[in-house]
């Protein structure tokens, strides 16, 4: 359970990057995009972030059913805290 706050921080980190880049892009696009297109582009950004972060987030969970050990999960957490600068 001690990895749970790390999942939250990692999610927030990724979401901040996603939103910042998306807004930069939408500003550049101006009115060049219809409502439907805008929605699909937003979905695209979510798809990329979700699929990219799936592995790391999964490896922060240790549900007993997989052969992932508690030790590995903690190592993953420590590495992610370092690499994504999540210490708060």
């Amino acid at each position: 359970l001690e990895t749970v706050p790390t999942i939250k921080k990692l999610r927030a980190k990724a979401e901040n990057i996603r939103i910042a880049e998306l807004e930069k892009c939408l500003t550049k696009l101006g009115d060049g995009l219809g409502k439907k297109e805008r929605k699909l582009v937003e979905e695209l950004t979510r798809g990329i972030v979700n699929k990219l972060m799936h592995g790391p987030m999964q490896h922060l969970r240790c549900d007993g059913s997989s052969d992932r050990t508690v030790g590995d999960t903690i190592l993953n957490m420590q590495a992610l805290e370092r690499m994504f600068d999540l210490a708060s």
Binding site: L1, E2, V4, P5, I7, K8, R11, A12, K39, E42, E43, R46, G47, N50, K51, M53, H54, M57, Q58, R61, D63
Partner: protein, 128 residues
């Protein structure tokens, strides 16, 4: 034309709510989304009802009213169950997990993060 006018007003409140959220005025956003929710319900418009619920959840969460926020994010999931249309569910589940984690309820945080993570790789959380 009456219906159209109501829909117009509904959309204006949703738009205003989003704008307030972007400008970090969560309190004003909450008010806008409340009005939008009432109008969406009156019109039986589940698509916009979900957007309003999502906005209310985000606004409450921004004000650190985490229990209230969980209620609104759960409303998103409830509307999805009612309509069979799951867009936005992944994000709602992640947000519920964030709220439980903020409340120090790591058991429920973990439970919802597990559901969230299981959905990340599958297609595709449409944006509400």
């Amino acid at each position: 034309p009456r219906d159209d006018a109501n829909k117009g007003e509904l959309m204006r409140h949703l738009k205003a709510g989003k704008k307030c959220l972007r400008e970090n005025n969560a309190q004003a956003a909450f008010v806008e989304f409340e009005k939008a929710l009432a109008l969406a319900r009156k019109a039986n418009d589940t698509v916009e009802e979900k957007k309003a619920a999502r906005g209310l959840g985000a606004s409450a969460q921004r004000q650190r009213n985490f229990k209230e926020a969980i209620g609104y994010h759960q409303l998103v999931l409830k509307i999805s169950r009612r309509t069979g249309e799951q867009s936005g569910d992944t994000e709602a589940i992640g947000a519920i997990a964030d709220c439980y984690t903020e409340l120090g309820d790591l058991e429920n945080g973990a439970k919802y993060y597990d559901r969230y993570i299981a959905r990340l790789e599958a297609d595709d959380d449409e944006v509400v």
